[in-house]
């Protein structure tokens, strides 16, 4: 089970008429693997993962996410679907500015019905295991970009979603911080029953992928498998 998109077509209505952005995408992201989605700017990467997340609607074709047909779900079904099944990581981290790191991590749990103290305790515990325990009570504005993104990873994974969607997670970071974030993602996100999709422009992080899917002008142009031996996995990398 995994993410399976078949013949996905999507067009946006603009002043100049309808613009076709996805032109029949066939895309697979298997569980237990980190799938990278790469390609030139404007080729439709964000559009595709927004559709998979149910944040965008109106595509034709089929999108199966762990057995759910996303395109046939109603808007009110999509909200709990996302809460339960999807973790998000954004280019700009999108942490809530008024909440500390551990409170941010606790949000998906609270939204899923956990009481605040136990959600907070879980959030803190997760940050501890990520080596971010010292920052648990800091506000996002007191953290570096790389630290914020690692807190965001914790938030995306705290409720053990089946699908992790990351849009340019390292684009706002320098090389070293980007590497640290990808190492953490690699260690944490890839799990037996979870599919991880990372959209990126950044060729420096291609090596963290199991599969690299190339997209061009609304179509998948090439799929590469990366041998797992190539991963520069460093067991101590999460501590900095």
């Amino acid at each position: 089970m995994s993410v399976i998109c078949k013949d996905v077509k999507m067009a946006f209505k603009t002043a100049a008429g309808s613009v076709s952005v996805l032109k029949g995408v066939d895309f697979v992201a298997p569980a237990g693997m980190l799938t990278m989605l790469v390609g030139p700017s404007g080729c439709g990467k964000t559009t595709l993962i927004s559709l998979i997340a149910g944040l965008l609607r109106g595509a034709s074709g089929s999108m199966q996410v762990f057995g759910h047909e996303v395109s046939s779900m109603s808007a009110s079904m999509l909200v709990p679907y996302r809460l339960k099944n999807i973790g998000f990581i954004f280019q700009q981290y999108n942490l809530l500015a008024g909440l500390t790191a551990s409170e941010n991590v606790a949000v998906p749990l609270v939204a899923s019905g956990f009481d605040w103290p136990s959600a907070l305790a879980k959030g803190k515990a997760l940050l501890d295991t990520l080596g971010l325990g010292a920052h648990a009570n800091k506000l996002p504005s007191q953290l570096s970009g790389g630290q914020q993104q690692r807190v965001a990873i914790a938030r995306a994974l705290v409720h053990s979603p089946k699908l992790l969607l990351c849009d340019e997670p390292t684009a706002a970071l320098d090389g070293q911080a980007g590497q640290a974030v990808m190492t953490l993602l690699r260690d944490l996100a890839v799990a037996e029953d979870r599919a991880a999709i990372v959209v990126t422009h950044d060729p420096r992080v291609y090596s963290f992928a199991d599969r690299v899917v190339h997209m061009e002008d609304g179509l998948i142009s090439k799929v590469e498998s990366v041998s797992s031996q190539k991963h520069p996995v460093d067991p101590h990398s999460t501590s900095h």
């Binding site: 944040l55 909200v79 809530l96 609270v110 939204a111």
Partner: protein
Amino acid sequence: MNLVAFKILLHDKAKYVALVLGVSFATLLISQQSAIFHSLMHASTRDILEANQADIWVMKSSVETLDQGYPIAELSVNRVRSVPGVQWAVPYYQSTAQLRTEDGRMKLVQVIGIDDLSMVGAPQEMLIGTLDDFDQPDAIVMDIAGYTNIFPGVAPQVGAIVEIGQRRAVVVGICYIGASWSGMPRVYTRRSLGVSMARETLNPVTYVLARAASEHSPEEVAKQITKATGLKARTRAEFMDDTRTWILKYSGIAENFGITILMGVVIGVAIVGQTFYMFSVENLKQFATLKAIGINNWVILRMIMTQALFVSTIGYCLGIGAANLFFAMTSTQLSGGLRGMFMHPLIFVGSGIFIVLVTLLACVVSVRKVLTVDPAVVFRG
């Protein structure tokens, strides 16, 4: 998630303070102006309030308002007394007269002549002297605000000799009287003396104050009095209404305060609405993130409502507190136009309800933006 709402709200301290101050300023403006307006209206019926033993006021039929009573024949008192259902009826005299101090300064004063026997309408709160002092020769009792006005810088005391309408008068007592519409110094005296001060010769009665016997309603007795005497008879409440209505009609005060209160409303809506709207718009991305994560619109609506109610409650408390502090400081003054002003409980409650409504309205406007925000924006930079 309400805790999350509070944290979002309180994070931007400057904006939070602006929101709370906006609400409290609007509350202050609205509640204070309403209370002053109400207090002025209340003050316009001052003599009716003071003479609270009487529940019927009898007057010439052309009288429209308290301060414009016309003289009627002394005989009218007996005619009112003989109407069935009247328990008692006494004369009451009211006029303006020139007061002249020993050093030659002139002041227009309100002379109130009360019935020598019953003392109905006499001041209720004597600060210096007692009602017995009215029996002294040439005795007048002055209200403290008037006294300070006539004798600035002189500690209130009895003994001052003045001339009112070319008649000698001695201050034998000082009383406290709440603010009145005209603001003139008030001089209380026996009616016989008051009449000679105003040099009234023919008709030394302005109003007949009466009380309905306990088994009759004042309304019914008032009707009987009009029927029997041809004079206008109004119950205490009706005459207060007449007076307030007249003032609202001829003074422009309603328009004046109406505009201020309306400004309070507009400023309130503008400040609160605008700031809250800005606040929500600036937090749009955070709300979009929450929506992307999978928090439904109802929860987000509740978060925003919680923020709004929290802000409006705190703002209201500060504003209403400031307004009441103002009245606490001004109303206890013995002189000055704000003395005795107060906030009616309905203004308390009304401005609270209003402020909550304004905030919720502001909320609805900004909530639309938050609820309709496309969560897909979270992927855009």
